[in-house]
């Protein structure tokens, strides 16, 4: 009996000596430890796609024809139909709201880099540079989220308006609250300000799917524009364009495949010769939509948007078509006076030079620097309009400064259509009585109206997330 007790305790002591062996990382699993392991997180395809192209369906840029046989209404998913008819509870618990689930998924990647890369093995300055890129991308995600699930930044109420969870750690057990709109913007500004000094001059990889200094300034100028801080927006737009300002004359591009050929593999959509976003000369920092061609082939441009274009504009003739197949009754132009947004292209929906020029022009127009504003618009238009039809816009063409601003905003609407920007522009312009407007959509015989500043502009928090957080205030639905 005594002997067995002694053996028993001896065994216990032996086992505790195994401690040192068990602090080693298991060998059969890939656990990131080096700088390259973490840097490659930014190269993963999960991080290179970005954003929710369905937000455009609630805007005044979209028209969905219903009449057979060319109607596009019946092919829409239930959630798209709800977005089009201004139902802000468009994603139930059982359907994935990609804006929520994929944005926070990417934020997990970025937080893994931000919080852990400095402890990895590798060159210190390179680590800082990669970490700065992750800060840039995290700021971009939070900016997208707060502009969809919360009211627009209004300096008087931003300190109380519920925003979105600020996720700064990669921890599946973490509990978050809805930070206020102001807290989210403060964090975005802080992330970008911290990142810019360390961001590389140009993308450190083969394509533009990575960050760079010009991108930091461009995103900062976008954030300040949304906040209504036009002076800071202008400053950062200039800083971005000083680093990178390439504009490309779209007249050199043409249609490669006019439209989708059913049942032909490799030609499911129309296609142009415009380079993919990650190679495009105008891209500063590139991202695709999760469906890289966004709403291509699903919607028509609205009558209002169609009236803003003419056939001398390469953006109109390359991205939109009268109809497909060209024969009536599929000819939307003849039936409705609109064009279908037809062509696929893996375009960049993150940071590109045209947007920065437009931000600069808008800030100049708002501070009455009207000639500077027109200079930028003319430069952009020279790269968009056919040479025969192009003419310089002169100050004398515009009776008031407000007319110059309207022209800038119209150019912005043309240039950024279907890039996921319009609903944010509507929300911020609705705060200004000069530009606030109603949006009207007709579906299934019913006319739906979205009044300015309606709660329906704010998408409901995804129930699959809010069910774990009963303390969160939900967005109003009326």
């Amino acid at each position: 009996m005594k002997k067995s007790i002694i053996y028993f305790f001896a065994a216990c002591l032996l086992l505790t000596a195994c401690d040192d062996y068990l602090n080693i990382i298991p060998k059969d699993k890939f656990i990131p430890t080096t700088l390259e392991d973490y840097e490659n997180m930014l190269n993963d395809i999960e991080c290179c796609s970005f954003g929710d192209y369905f937000t455009d369906m609630m805007t005044d840029n979209v028209f969905i024809p219903e009449a057979a046989p060319s109607g596009l209404w019946t092919k829409q998913k239930l959630s798209s139909k709800k977005i089009y008819t201004f139902d802000n509870e468009c994603y139930p618990e059982s359907e994935i709201d990609q804006m929520w689930s994929q944005s926070y998924r990417r934020i997990f990647y970025y937080n893994s880099v931000i919080n852990d890369i400095m402890g990895a093995k590798g060159d210190e300055s390179r680590k800082k540079s990669v970490r700065a890129e992750a800060l840039l991308f995290r700021a971009g995600e939070h900016l997208n989220l707060v502009n969809l699930y919360a009211k627009h930044y209004n300096p008087e109420t931003a300190g109380e308006d519920p925003g979105v969870p600020l996720v700064l750690v990669a921890d599946i057990n973490a509990k978050h609250r809805r930070s206020t709109v102001k807290e989210v913007y403060d964090q975005i500004i802080a992330d970008l300000t911290e990142a810019i000094p360390d961001l590389p001059e140009t993308s450190p990889a083969t394509t533009k799917f990575r960050g760079c200094k010009a991108g930091g300034y461009a995103l900062l100028s976008r954030a300040y524009l949304f906040m209504g801080e036009y002076g800071k927006a202008l400053e950062n737009a200039n800083a971005a364009l000083n680093k990178y300002s390439t504009l490309v004359d779209m007249n050199q591009y043409s249609v490669k495949i006019p439209g989708p050929f059913p049942y032909v593999p490799g030609a499911p959509l129309g296609w142009t010769t415009i380079p993919d976003g990650q190679y495009h000369p105008e891209s500063i920092v590139a991202r695709h939509f999760l469906r890289p061609f966004g709403l291509g082939m699903d919607v028509c441009a609205s009558a209002e948007l169609s009236a803003l274009f003419n056939n001398n504009d390469m953006r109109w003739t390359l991205y939109y078509a009268n109809g497909w197949p060209p024969a009536p009754p599929y000819n939307y132009w003849n039936t409705y006076g609109v064009k279908i947004y037809l062509r696929g292209d893996y375009y960049n929906n993150f940071l590109s030079t045209p947007e920065v020029y437009l931000i600069r022009a808008e800030c100049n127009a708002r501070s009455n620097k009207l000639q500077e504003a027109l200079d930028d618009i003319n430069l952009l238009r020279r790269n968009r309009i056919t040479p025969a039809a192009y003419s310089v816009l002169k100050l004398s063409d515009f009776p008031t400064g407000e007319d110059v601003l309207k022209s800038v905003l119209d150019e912005r609407r043309r240039e950024l259509a279907f890039t996921g920007m319009r609903h944010i522009d509507l929300k911020r312009l609705n705060l200004d009585p000069r530009f606030s407007k109603e949006v009207k959509h007709t579906a299934e015989g019913h006319e739906y109206v979205l009044p300015p500043n309606s709660p329906k502009y704010v998408r409901q928090i995804w129930p699959a997330a809010s069910k774990f957080n009963p303390d969160w205030e939900l967005n109003p639905t009326e």
Binding site: L22, P32, D37, N43, E95, S112, I172, P463, A464
Partner: protein, 444 residues
């Protein structure tokens, strides 16, 4: 280690400390001492039992111990894989499993009381055990807040109690010089109850999940169903009773499908998907060189959802469906047809939850009890001098029928062994086929 005194009293003890780097670096989660203590009392050896004639042996025993369970796939480290991303022309690091710094051992404390006995000159012997197992820090894949990027992960999520009885009997019913018949019978009955749950969703949608849900006070894998109130005579949409017995109509003002159940109290416990009892019953007959064995099993005490077709959505008929799917509501009056399905959701405006009104209706959940004859085997041993000389030392001819017979408690013809429960709806799988096997085994 064990120690027996006087051939009658035995005490046993064992212990082990396991340490793992798979779990959080926090020491309180790393070390798990596993141990057990037991004692047994061989009553039949006592003097006062010497005169108990038919009782050959009787032992009473009791044990108590703690053991643990660990899963090796995830741990405190972020696990990734390297994947080439052609769009970026670079290698990407794809995150496979997030780190979980609070992952820890699943622990079970087991108390067991048992009796082993043998009577009638060892003609009948057996064991009866009663156990109580209390498991804490259950490991399982649970739904998590997608704001932390992963909608599900392996976590410690709760505690449960399993309590049950296991009985095993062996009897020699007949033994003569040339014929014998022996029986082996065992039955186990288990009751399970969740006592604590700390992870996973408890939203209304999770109650009707096809795999069952875990709720405190109910067994693991509980099915919760709607109380079916028939189809709406005007539009064929499903109606259900709420907790007060009132009818909830699941359509909007124009009669289109719309899911209108909002209260978790309107779904009712229907049972667990895990069997409560298992029975094995084997009989072996031998007569000279011939032997026959019949193996039977039975399972039950649980429920399962019928493999009904889902409500047609959006007019997509691009797959083969079972014939029963053509029995759906078309016009007023159809709601009285036997087994009729709700009307199709042509506009596609119903949601995934709307579909559960049919798949999780109480009329579509059935008992999962069954009895099967697993096999009947016949064997003949040839005498080794059958051809006059000893050509071989042993030769045996066997003939076996596997899965010849079954009986199921449900009236839908569902075999619980040819069945797959999915998150939304259940499906039949390929049937268990009867096979006939013949064999000859010769040893030289």
């Amino acid at each position: 280690a064990g120690y027996t005194y006087d051939n009658k009293y035995t005490a046993t003890a064992s212990a082990r400390i396991d340490d793992s780097n798979l779990f959080g670096s926090d020491p309180k989660y790393r070390y798990l001492p596993m141990w057990s203590l037991g004692g047994s009392w061989n009553i039949s050896k006592e003097e006062f039992m010497a005169s108990a004639g038919c009782l050959d042996a009787l032992t009473i025993r009791a044990t108590y111990g703690i053991n643990g369970n660990v899963v090796r796939k995830v741990g405190p480290f972020l696990q990734a894989e390297a994947i080439y991303n052609p769009e970026a022309e670079e290698t990407g690091t794809r995150i496979l499993f997030p780190p979980n710094r609070s992952l820890r051992w699943e622990k079970t404390a087991v108390t067991n009381f048992g009796i082993s006995f043998s009577i009638f000159d060892n003609k009948l012997s057996g064991t009866i055990d009663y156990y109580n197992k209390y498991t804490t820090d259950l490991l399982g894949t649970k739904e998590l807040d997608p704001t932390n990027a992963f909608q599900s992960s392996l976590v410690n999520y709760g505690s449960m109690i399993n309590r049950g009885i296991e009985v095993g009997l062996n009897s020699t019913n007949i033994r003569t010089r040339s014929f014998s018949w022996t029986t082996m019978f065992n039955i186990s009955y288990n009751k399970n109850r969740m006592t604590e749950i700390s992870a996973g969703s408890e939203s209304l949608a999770s109650f009707t999940d096809g795999f069952g849900c875990d709720r405190v006070g109910y067994p693991m894998g509980s099915l919760f169903n709607y109380r079916w109130a028939g189809l709406n005579p005007e539009n064929g949409t499903p109606m259900v009773y709420n907790k007060n017995g009132e009818i909830i109509e699941n359509c909007d003002a124009s009669g289109n499908p719309q899911y209108n159940v909002t209260d978790k109290g309107d779904v009712f416990y229907a049972g667990t998907i895990h069997p409560k009892y298992t029975i094995g019953f084997n009989n072996t007959f031998t007569w000279k060189n011939l032997s026959a064995t019949v193996v039977m099993i039975a399972n039950g005490g649980n429920v399962m959802r019928d493999a009904v077709p889902m409500i047609h959505v959006n007019g997509y008929f691009d797959q083969n469906v079972t014939k029963t799917a053509s029995n759906f509501w078309r016009e007023p009056g159809d709601e009285n047809k036997k087994g009729v399905m709700p009307a199709p959701d042509i506009s596609g405006n119903g949601s995934a939850s709307y579909g559960t009104l049919w798949t999780a209706a109480d009329i579509n959940t059935v008992k999962a009890d069954y009895i099967k004859v697993r096999s009947i085997s016949l064997a003949y041993d040839f005498p080794s001098n059958i051809f006059g000389r000893e050509y071989f030392s042993k030769a045996r001819l066997t003939f076996q029928i596997q899965n010849p017979l079954k009986w199921v408690a449900n009236d839908r013809g569902l075999d619980p062994e040819a069945y797959y429960a999915a998150s939304i709806s259940a499906e039949r799988t390929l049937p268990v086929t009867t096979s006939y096997i013949i064999g000859l085994n010769i040893t030289f």
